[in-house]
């Protein structure tokens, strides 16, 4: 009896199953970041891309996924090796002045992102027939309580489980029984249309998938986990898996909207339009699934963005920043947190607020900020003093500098196009 147990244990160890267990103990940061990445802005952009341009943008998800993996891998590596957050490293390496202006821009960008999350809450709840004057204040109150009650960590787990609802998009995708041959052909055949609208949309997909705040958030969650350098490979798997998942969800949203809305020439402006337009084409359950996915995504991101913003800025300036402190002990932290939520939710409720242009400009600020963050990251990750033996290898440097160069060109193009129009 005992012998069988021992031999079973041996088999278990040899099979590498225990590695799987270790993987599950260390995952989290990568997958959570990726899921927050599919936020209200993301879902909107993917829906619009599918509805306006059919399957022609589907292939861009492949290079986007590679870029996402390259960038997030560097962030995670910096977190594990240095044990410090990104804003901490930027402050120590590049000094107070640069950090100060960077943080101001980051605050504005995140403010805009938070705004679009609350807009997502409002839109999805309106599909269920709930007025935004009820849903947005409730959502804001819920998010604010998370930190005051200090229950953020447990709620994070709840959200992670709620991420299963992203499968709603995948299920919807299968329910409409598309012709997979055409979709797969479109997916692997890169086509470029030299049309301003098409190009802007392509850049939009990149911009919403690779946002500046994610790098700060990912790195500090990796640091929080306290992962040792020797276990780094599991974190890398976490990041790759997360990046893969984002793009699977994006794939299905674009495909869903392309097969239904685009084929029927329906014009939509928002994710809410997309959800509503799906009802007659794919059944009302599809609308509900779509709306529920949007609500979950928006609420998840809305809970994380203000917290991440407050953390990042306080870390850069050395202000007390812990959920476990009282308001008077960490006034800057709670102040930033509260302002982000208050303005983010408040602006949505103003009558006649030019929501679309606000969201558009927040994308522009994100686009301007991203190049700086990426260049700082590359300089930091190649700094021997910080990274020791974990600096980028030659090949990794070629890949990452190329990726960053392309992203910078795209971001600048987007910012330029936005200012011109």
């Amino acid at each position: 009896m005992f012998d069988t147990l021992i031999s079973l244990r041996k088999k278990f160890l040899q099979s590498g199953l225990w590695r799987l267990g270790l993987f599950f103990a260390l995952i989290g940061p990568g997958i959570i970041t990726s899921n927050v990445d599919n936020d209200a802005g993301g879902i909107t952009t993917y829906s619009l891309a599918g509805a306006k341009y059919g399957l022609s943008l589907l292939w861009t998800l492949i290079p986007i996924m590679i870029a996402l993996i390259v960038i997030q891998e560097m962030c995670a590596r910096m977190g594990v090796v240095s044990g410090k957050g990104l804003s901490d490293l930027i402050r120590e390496r590049f000094g107070a002045k640069i950090t100060f202006y960077l943080m101001i821009v980051l605050f504005l960008a995140n403010m805009g992102n938070t705004l679009s999350e609350f807009a997502g809450v409002a839109a999805s709840m309106e599909i269920f027939g709930v007025s935004k004057y009820l849903s947005v204040p409730l959502a804001a109150f819920f998010v604010w309580r998370l930190v005051v009650k200090g229950s953020y960590k447990s709620v994070e787990k709840a959200f992670l489980i709620a991420c299963v609802f992203y499968f709603s998009y995948i299920i919807s995708g299968f329910l409409i029984k598309p012709s997979w041959n055409i979709i797969m052909t479109a997916f692997v055949t890169p086509t470029v249309t030299f049309d301003v609208g098409w190009l802007t949309m392509a850049i939009g997909i990149v911009g919403t998938t690779i946002a500046p705040w994610m790098q700060f958030y990912l790195q500090s969650s990796v640091v929080d986990k306290g992962i040792k350098a020797k276990n780094y490979k599991y974190t890398r798997m976490d990041v790759i898996f997360g990046s893969f998942m984002v793009n699977v969800v994006a794939f299905f949203i674009i495909m869903l909207c392309a097969v239904t809305l685009y084929t029927n020439n329906l014009v939509i402006e928002t994710a809410k339009d997309a959800a509503l337009a799906l009802a007659p084409l794919a059944g009302s359950y599809c609308t509900w699934l779509f709306a529920f996915g949007l609500l979950n995504a928006s609420l998840f991101a809305a809970s994380i963005l203000p917290l991440s913003t407050a953390y990042t800025i306080c870390e850069a300036f050395g202000w007390e920043s812990s959920i476990n402190t009282k308001f008077v002990e960490a006034p800057q932290f709670y102040g930033l947190y509260t302002i982000t939520i208050f303005l983010g939710a408040g602006i949505i409720l103003l009558p006649n607020v030019p929501l679309i242009s606000i969201m558009f400009y927040s994308q522009v600020i994100n686009g301007i900020l991203l190049p700086f963050v990426l260049i700082f990251m590359l300089l930091l990750i190649n700094d021997k003093k910080i990274m020791g033996d974990y600096i980028n290898g030659k090949i990794m440097n070629i890949i990452s500098w190329t990726t960053v160069a392309v992203l910078i060109c795209l971001s600048l193009a987007m910012a330029f196009a936005a200012i011109m129009s």
Binding site: S82, G83, K84, R91, E92, G95, A96, K97, T99, F100, Y101, G150, V223, G226, K228, F317, G318, E320, S322
Partner: protein
């Protein structure tokens, strides 16, 4: 060589940095990029400035060659080709590199702060580093917005923004292991209460956490470890070798040491136990056999036992002799030869009784005790009901096995409280 402009006064590092340096002949020497200071007590003394001479070349300008630091430029009496490259020696530290924008522990306020600026006092042509600026105004000075910000605060809130300075005496730099080692002699960290020090450790990132922890002396390390979150305890001990770990764990109270060893991976705990003193290791092994949430897991075996025939004087002598190393001295437990618990005396009883009295005359034989298997709720009830600060633990036959101190119960139940 008196300074021409300001013989005495305060100066910020940010005021010096980026200033160009010329010599008396008007020759341009370079731009100040850093300052070198000798770390001596009580205040570090600036020994030189690092100049950027050309795009890729830095040089050291010895402080004794500096004539004055003015608004526009710093004047030195040295020629360009007399400048030599900088080599680190002794206790010299590059101030900007090691301190600016980095974290320090404010040992007075027991908090981690970020350095926004450094303040010097200039007296008799010596530049002392006396303050670390951690305030918002310091940050604004670095950004170059002091004046607009001052004006804005004045206008909007009628509030004068003040500098927030920490005396160098209360600042412990953390940026490198070298700096930590340098300051061990001054023992700044051990001035902080262990409970505060534990909070600071919890706030630090993993690397600096173990660097700071390893810079502490054994006693402080042990006391701090007792106050630290169990998860962090484990990671701190995991970074040490068994010999170092056992040295620190031996200094901890028996029940704390047991809890910690119980949380460690089995192999690591075994190796540490091997390194520990035999008698302590045996006690720990005994305690480790009990589950953590039962009386057996919470108790300590490090307390004083007396016989009924012991006199008060003998008891007091025992306390003086062994009290230093014992977890619990406020209560003494009286047992027969077979370890059956007969009664309890408090330190108060012993102090008030005459020296010749035997303990069976003053002991309280209305024993309040818990069983080895009793759980935390039962124990908490007993503490609350009888208002004691420690409760003896007996086995089913009434033999004394250990004692639970209130502190140890608190650690187990604290996780249910407040949150």
């Amino acid at each position: 060589m008196p300074l021409t402009s300001e013989p005495q006064g305060f100066l910020f590092l940010s005021d010096i940095l980026k200033k160009k340096v010329i010599n008396a002949g008007g020759q341009h020497l370079g731009q100040i990029v850093d300052a070198v200071a000798e770390f001596v007590e009580p205040y570090p003394i600036v020994t030189g400035l690092i100049l950027k001479v050309s795009a890729h070349k830095n040089a050291l300008l010895p402080w004794k060659s500096v004539l004055s630091i003015g608004e526009d430029a710093c004047v030195a009496n040295i020629t360009a080709h007399a400048l030599a490259g900088y080599k680190k020696q002794g206790n010299a530290v590059l101030l900007k590199d090691a301190l600016m924008d980095k974290q320090v522990v404010d040992t007075n306020g027991a908090r981690i702060r970020r350095v926004n600026d450094l303040q010097f006092l200039q007296a008799h042509h010596i530049l002392y580093l006396i303050h670390v600026d951690v305030g918002f105004r310091g940050l604004m000075r670095r950004v170059g917005l002091t004046k607009p910000m001052d004006k804005m605060m004045q206008m909007l809130f009628d509030y004068t923004l003040a500098d927030q300075l920490i005396s160098w005496k209360f600042a412990q730099p953390l940026s490198s292991p070298d700096l930590l080692r340098l300051n061990i002699a001054q023992n700044r960290l051990s001035q902080i209460h262990p409970a505060d020090l534990a909070d600071i450790l919890e706030d630090l990132d993993i690397r600096r956490r173990s660097a700071v922890f390893q810079a502490l002396d054994k006693e402080t390390a042990a006391e701090t470890l007792e106050e630290t979150d169990p998860k962090i305890q484990v990671s701190l001990i995991a970074d040490l070798n068994s010999a170092q770990a056992s040295d620190i764990i031996e200094e901890m109270s028996l029940s704390e040491a047991t809890d910690l060893l119980g949380d460690l991976p089995k192999e690591k705990a075994k190796r540490i136990l091997k390194e520990m003193e035999k008698t302590v290791a045996e006690d720990v092994r005994e305690l480790l056999a009990h589950p953590e949430k039962e009386a057996g897991g919470m108790m300590t075996t490090s307390f004083l036992r007396f016989r009924p025939s012991t006199t008060v004087q003998q008891a007091m002598e025992m306390i003086r002799a062994e009290g230093e190393d014992v977890d619990l001295i406020y209560y003494g437990y009286i047992t027969d030869e077979k370890e059956h618990l007969l009664g309890v005396v408090t330190l108060r009883d012993l102090l008030l009784a005459s020296p010749e009295t035997t303990l069976n005359n003053i002991m309280d034989s209305r024993i309040i005790s818990v069983k080895l298997k009793d759980n935390d709720d039962t124990i908490a009830e007993n503490f609350a009901k009888y208002g004691v600060t420690a409760i003896p633990v007996v086995d089913t036959k009434g033999k004394l096995q250990g004692a639970i101190m209130f502190k140890n119960l608190l650690e187990v139940v604290a996780s249910h409280l407040g949150k």
